[in-house]
């Protein structure tokens, strides 16, 4: 298997390199045959990488410990389903995964490339394949997962126990796919610049792939938070770790992009800006991958550390400088098709939205870089961690939530003050009423009040939009309300899908505000039979059972939860100790309700049978995890291919013809 894998890896590298050169040469020499063969090489490279991936999977399943990577990340005791996780547990495998995902996405992009983009597509292909060539060269030369050991060990070292959690099946692959996915909108933008097609031809494909990487990153971040919440055993879900930040920043930039690209799609404006944004996102994605592979900042994700850092740094520098040079070269061609009609318009709101997203990204980058700066300028290092980000990014995020409530209610082009006032009135009343009621109920934390007020403000705005649209369809066509509502959403999917995503952001806001300002935490050591009171709950610790299981010792504690004297539930939080890693993996027992989570995690098991528990009451965090599926639904709605609308007489424009839209969006 090692040989097959290694050979297909080299073949893929050769194909990617050929495709890069062939696309450009074919384009310059006006040879369609060459361009076509370069495109076929994209498919072939994807195929070769699938073979390499499959070889590694088979090597894992057959526990081929002659392969160094398999020996380092699995052992005989490992269940086969963890092969999926073990595959990307180290640098070599995760790079192979990234390369394979890039090759597959590129194949789809080449296959589905819009007809109107034909002139620029060879350049886009070249950008994609150049990136792939880089990754494959790094894998083949510096981090080859098929390298063999000089001997065959009896057993492997085993999989990192922190990875054997359900969330780990999706969090790393989603994030890695999202990061590399940003290459696609970037390649479309750059390809269109190189070809001198500086209009809006690339926008549909750019938006499609932008949203794909956006949703992958968002899902990855949420799953990572969920994983941290349930397994890291301190009761939080996000702590501005450098690697979290590294995935968060490109997500911010790509979020800005998928908003502002709508302005170009609809109005032909912000052409330069969109290209800048997508370049920034790509740079940040490269930076994220650099941080993940031996970056210079300590992080809880350091298990993937290696000496690959410098080569990624070089690629990062090239990946930022060259595109901006090309951008400046093509700058004179990038003229907006239109001018802005008014400062009070959705276009302007989108620009402020972009500013805020980039500001948060900048603060995050600044916080990541600042310790390095202090290390360079004086001898002592200054740490930048959670308190800094909470205090600086918190207000910026609230401002974004506010804008999320305002932006969609402002019409394109130009809004009249009076009509804006009229549309915004109900949401404002809703928000202020929430603040008033909560304050009257005795809530005096001003940031929490603002947070809840804004959540209501946004939700009211979205519901009003839905209600208005549904009612007017109901009145004009006589559809019943349910049909009218569904047809309304189907009639403008990018818009109403966006609203669904906005609702999921409101849910996340609720979770963040709830846990940041209202969580209660108790650390306590309990002997069997002892109890502790937190908020309205009383917890009784009954005892622990210790079991030895192959590579670990499991401690399962039994805890009863009482409220007002009634037994609510018996929970069994777990703590596994892995002697070979000298590491404990906890698994919190969480009694989750939409109002609040009761979170119990054993942090230490003492020899006398008593257990150190960390117990938290986390209000509203349930909404955070529900937001994930809601967001996914919204994205699917927004991306669902729209059908072509045939030209029809003006009075009855609502005629649909069968057949799908030719473009990817």
């Amino acid at each position: 298997m090692a040989e097959l894998g290694a050979i297909s890896l080299w073949i893929a590298l050769a194909l990617a390199a050929y495709s890069t050169v062939g696309s450009v040469a074919g384009k310059l020499r006006l040879s369609p045959a060459l361009v076509e063969s370069a495109q076929s090489a994209v498919y072939a490279a994807a195929l070769a990488l699938l073979v390499a991936t499959l070889s590694l999977v088979i090597a894992f399943i057959s526990r081929d410990f002659e392969i160094a990577y398999v020996a380092a990340h699995s052992d005989l005791a490992m269940a086969n389903r963890f092969t999926w996780v073990a595959f990307y547990a180290g640098n070599e495998g995760s790079l192979l995964y990234i390369g394979t995902v890039l090759a597959i996405m590129s194949s789809i992009a080449v296959w589905r490339s819009p007809e109107k983009f034909k002139d620029a597509m060879p350049y886009t292909t070249a950008v994609l394949m150049l990136t792939l060539t880089f990754f494959l060269a790094v894998i083949a030369v510096m981090a080859n997962p098929f390298d063999k050991l000089p001997f065959v060990p009896l057993d492997g070292e085993g999989i990192n126990p922190l990875l054997t959690h359900f969330g780990m099946f999706f969090h790393p692959p989603a994030l890695m796919a999202g990061l590399i996915g940003i290459t696609l909108p970037f390649a479309f933008a750059l390809g269109s610049l190189l070809a001198g097609k500086t209009g809006d031809e690339w926008v549909d494909a750019g938006r499609f792939w932008g949203i794909i990487s956006w949703v992958l990153l968002a899902a990855g971040l949420l799953l990572g938070s969920w994983w941290a919440y349930t397994i890291l055993g301190w009761g939080g879900f996000w702590f501005w770790d450098p690697v979290e930040n590294a995935a968060f920043m490109p997500w911010l930039a790509i979020t800005a992009f998928i908003h502002s690209v709508m302005v170009q799609k609809r109005r032909g404006m912000f052409r330069m800006w969109n290209i800048v944004l997508v370049n920034v996102a790509f740079g940040l994605a490269l930076y994220g991958m650099f941080m993940n592979r031996g970056g210079s900042v300590p992080s809880v994700h350091s298990f993937g550390e290696s000496s690959l850092g410098w080569i990624f740094l070089i690629f990062l520098a090239v990946g930022v400088v060259v595109p901006f040079a090309i951008f400046i070269w093509r700058y004179p061609l990038l003229k907006s098709a239109r001018n802005l009609d008014s400062m009070l318009s959705r276009e302007a709101a989108f620009l402020v939205n972009n500013l805020l997203f980039l500001a948060i990204a900048f603060v995050t980058l600044w916080g990541t870089v600042y310790p390095l700066l202090t290390r360079l300028t004086n001898d002592e290092t200054i740490t930048v961690a959670r308190p800094f980000y909470d205090q600086v990014n918190g207000p910026l995020m609230l401002a974004l939530v506010f804008l999320m409530g305002v932006g969609p209610l402002i019409p394109w082009r130009k809004a009249g003050m009076a009509s804006v006032r009229k549309t915004l009135l109900p949401p404002i009343i809703g928000g202020l009423a929430t603040v008033g009621i909560l304050a009257a109920l005795g809530l005096h934390k001003e940031y929490a009040l603002i947070g809840f007020g804004l959540a209501t403000f946004v939700t009211t705005g979205i519901l009003m939009e839905w209600f208005r649209g549904t009612r007017s369809r109901h009145r004009s066509s006589g559809e019943n309300y349910a049909t009218a509502f569904l047809r309304l959403i189907m009639a403008n999917r990018p818009r109403y899908g966006g609203y669904i995503v906005h609702l999921s952001v409101v849910m996340v806001t609720l979770g963040i505000v709830g846990t940041s300002f209202f969580s209660t935490q108790v650390d306590v050591v309990l002997s069997p039979g002892e109890s502790v009171v937190i908020e309205n709950y009383e917890l009784v610790y009954l005892g622990s059972v210790e079991t030895h299981k192959g590579n670990r010792t499991e401690f399962i504690s039994t805890v009863q939860i009482f409220r007002d004297g009634d037994l609510l539930e018996t929970i069994r939080p777990k703590r596994d100790f892995y002697p070979s890693f000298n590491m404990a993996a906890t698994s919190a027992a969480i009694r989750s309700t939409p109002v609040e989570d009761l979170y119990v995690v054993p942090s230490e098991n003492l020899p006398d049978g008593s257990v150190g528990f960390r117990i938290l009451v986390n209000p509203l965090i349930w909404w955070m995890w529900v937001a994930g599926p809601v967001m996914l639904v919204g994205t699917v709605v927004a991306l669902w291919p729209t059908r072509v609308r045939a030209p029809a007489p003006v009075p009855t424009p609502r005629r649909l013809t069968p057949g799908t839209r030719p473009t990817t969006a």
Binding site: R266, N492, R495
Partner: protein, 206 residues
Amino acid sequence: MLVVFALFSALALTQIDTLHAQTPEPVAPEGSYSESQAQGIDRMIMCPVCPAETIDQAQVEISFQMRQIVRDMLSQGRDRDEILDFFVERYGKDILAAPPKSGANLVAWLMPIAAVSVGLIAVYLVLRSMTRRGTAPVIAQPVTDAGLIPYLQLVDRHLDMTRSAPQTGSTSNPNSSGVEPLGESPGDSTATDESEANVDQGEQGK
């Protein structure tokens, strides 16, 4: 709208100024403290042996001990700053989870504010210059009468559709980048939807 964002940035500013007031330390009798007060301090101290975790998060022996020290010092009547200073003396400034808001490290806190301010000004200037250019003949007269909007959108839509036939051929024209049609691109059916939605709103406005 920019005014609102100026307000938000002002909010951020005041927050940074009143940062010490943000985690209030109620004047309590000597030696008594609340657990949440202690946890607030835990969250400002990094664990010295684990990467990127505070002593509140870390599950290692030394962080248990340091948490205990925080509580012992609180029960001796020491306040937050004294406790933080105690740890800084022993471990150096990098034990703090955030840069101190004094001296050269104030830069860490002021930089984001400066960046956001510059960004706001830039956005304002860009928007203003884009609007000024907007008085050119591209759109002769901005529509102010709300009652006219549905009608004009209907016209726009009509133009889109009548233009769509010749438009399909023109995409291969390499020089098309400079000259843009006034309406939405023909394949963009969402645009038509959007104007429909606006029509709905327009009806609503009457």
